[in-house]
């Protein structure tokens, strides 16, 4: 702050005030302008304009629609005339031979009711599609002549795609594709298909009430088993993956704390008089922290292979550095009087630490640990995606296949719930374990005093 001499004249005071104001004005416009300039630079550095051209909005649309809906494929092999039905066209969701959903009537002419008056018929020779408000589309696939399509008179609408060997009709009710070798109908439904039971389970299609009734009759184990081993959604694997992720966070966080606590004593001025050891320990902390979880993950994955242990160790090593720093700062701030008090009763060195030091630092240590437990759950998801373990691996696998977006949505929901649960749990535990910390206590926020608070 500028100091004001008492003998300044009014003119000088005014000049000084003017200078202050003009400086503030420059700051007020200069700072946002600087930010703007930087953002413009980033706009070009990241090639945002080119990105808009490269972006694949079709992918986005499939992603969104697929994440809350599914389709059932009805497919006819045009050579053999066999009709098969499968949910999402996957073998895991296939209906047994000779069976189909109730909106499909199998027979010599298979009739597929797509609702709202849309009806597709797979005849022995010709495929027809009645579209309300447009007319009937006919297609006759044959080996020699490709697909011969007959459309109602008039211009071909853009939702019909005809070529010599292929006919594709896309309506709101569904989609029909006829090629030389096969005719295929998709019908879309809202929801996650076969989430509870797959088609081969006897419990498929039963209502909740019926299931409760069956469970009461002693089939609870079988029902749970069918749900747990659901091939489509793999509930068992998902539960294990979530558990693995939390396990990584738990082992990593507490393991790091156990390694860091004794080392932290070495890095403090008041417990370790040897300056060189202190210096070395601090540099070790800085080093493991600076190397970063990414590099540790890469290095450790070479030694241990993919899996939860690698992830746990990567978190452990990185956090040892962070905890070492936090703990040693906490230890430097302990009150010597309490230690002297314990010493005056004739306590030996371990007792002095146990009763003089530990009780003072426990609240800080615990609260930091629990903060990190939550934040590491998130890191464990990310590390799992890199090293291959836990829910992060499942998520990347589901995204790489690029078709099971409902599974991706499911995993994302699970991950968010998992992190929020851990957040809540660590907050609850913090309140229970540290009596002093209540919701009311709100000291003026001072980030400097808790420099590693990872939110």
């Amino acid at each position: 702050m500028s100091t004001f001499a008492t003998d300044l004249t009014t003119a000088e005071l005014k000049a000084e005030a003017d200078r202050l104001f003009s400086r503030k004005r420059v700051m007020n416009f200069g700072l946002p302008a600087l930010v703007l300039v930087y953002l413009i630079y980033v706009f070009f550095a990241f090639d945002v304009a080119g990105l808009a051209a490269r972006a694949n909005w079709e992918n986005g649309k499939t992603l969104v629609s697929d994440s809350y809906s599914y389709k059932t494929h009805i497919e006819r092999d045009n050579r053999t005339g066999e009709v098969s039905a499968a949910i999402e066209g996957e073998r895991k969701g296939a209906y047994p031979e000779g069976e189909a959903p109730d909106w499909v009537t199998l027979g010599e002419t298979t009739v597929i009711d797509l609702a709202d008056g849309h009806i597709v018929r797979f005849g022995p020779e010709t495929v027809t599609y009645d579209i309300p408000g447009y007319g009937t589309v006919r297609a006759t696939p044959s080996r020699s002549a490709g697909v011969q399509a007959e459309l109602p008179p008039g211009e071909v609408p853009e939702w019909i795609n005809v070529s010599k060997n292929r006919l594709a009709v896309t309506t709101d009710a569904g989609r029909l594709t006829v090629t030389r070798n096969r005719s295929e109908v998709f019908r879309y439904f809202t929801g996650w298909e076969l989430f509870w039971f797959t088609l081969d389970s006897p419990y498929y299609g039963k209502s909740f009430g019926e299931l409760v009734g069956l469970a009461a009759k002693g089939e609870a184990g079988a029902i749970f088993n069918d749900f747990w081993t659901n091939k489509m959604w793999r509930h068992q694997d998902v539960a294990w993956a979530i558990f693995e992720t939390i396990l990584m966070a738990f082992l990593g966080t507490f393991g790091a704390a156990m390694v860091a606590l004794p080392l932290a004593f070495l890095a403090t001025r008041n417990f370790n008089p040897l300056k060189s050891v202190r210096f070395a320990t601090r540099r070790v902390f800085d080093f493991v922290r600076g190397v970063d979880a990414l590099i540790w993950t890469v290095v450790l994955a070479r030694a241990f292979g993919p899996g939860p242990l690698t992830g746990a160790l990567a978190i452990l090593v990185t956090d040892t550095g962070t905890f070492g720093k936090i703990f040693s700062e906490a230890l430097e701030n302990v009150d010597q009087k309490q230690i002297e008090g314990v010493q005056s009763t004739g306590a030996n060195a371990p007792q002095r630490y146990r009763f003089g030091v530990i009780p003072q630092v426990t609240p800080i240590l615990l609260s930091q640990l629990l903060y990190f437990l939550e934040s590491n759950t998130r890191s464990a998801t990310v590390i799992g995606a890199i090293t291959g373990g836990g829910i992060g691996l499942l998520l990347t696998q589901a995204i790489i296949t690029q078709k099971d977006w409902e599974e991706v949505a499911y995993y994302i929901v699970l991950i968010i719930l998992m992190v929020m649960l851990m957040d809540w749990f660590s907050g609850w535990l913090r309140k229970r374990l540290i009596k002093g910390e209540t919701g009311k206590k709100r000291k003026p926020a001072d980030p400097g005093s808790k420099p590693f608070l990872l939110p």
Partner: protein, 293 residues
Amino acid sequence: MTELTAGTPTVEDIRDEYTAMTRRKKVYGGILLILFVVMMAAGFRTADSRNAGSFFDGWHRILDYPSEVLSEAWEKIAEMPANLVTFFPALVETLNIAAAATLAGTILGTFLALMSTRGMAYWPSLIPLFRRISDVFRAVPEIVIALVLIFILGGGPVPAMIAIAIHTAGALGKLFSEVNENASLKPVEGLQSVGANWSQRMYLGVIPQVGPNYVSYALLRFEINIRASAILGFVGAGGLGYELRNAMSWGQGRYDEAAAIFILLFVTIVVVDQLSGYLRDRLTHGSEKGASA
């Protein structure tokens, strides 16, 4: 406690009660400790059995990879400066992702924080909604958004930036609203009395009070975001992580490049850590006091 009303307790009573209490505490502490040790041991065994390689087979191999990389890098030490220059643009990209994401996240986080603080919110009835939004933003790991956006937008820095910005907004939204709770509302009331609208009240009444704390938290976030942006590069979002994955998948023969990337990343993280630590110290303790290490 109850004895106080029942009558005057004797010294023996008090001592007995005290010893009973300490014993109970010891038992509880012991049980907790045993539980913790059992959980750690069981957890370790589970993680070990589900891992591809076990801990006891692998621990002596930890240093194999670093030493391979280092020895190869040492052989080709002459190429190191050239490699460092080659990968410098990737480092700039990683830093840009982190900086742009921190900037965007801070702006969005400020908005979320103002919207979820009593006395400052524009729509006081929507405070719980904005708090939940912050919570959800905070809970989403960056990689989730990044992977989904990479599918739509293609690889590159923008998906990573958006992903990190969203998480940053959630995290800072919570911290900022805690800062806001401690800000005095008197300037806001004063401005309101002279007819200032909401944005003027916030910009002139609240932001000057909380500014230093905001900047301090944002700097901390910047540190974290550099690490995050390097990691996201590994899954295809550009920058150092992407180059690192490429160099690693080439395996032997390219380890000098991997080493160069390691060095760049390490130095950057350490420098930014130190710099932001110093700046944060200045911001929160004032410039005259200096670092209190």
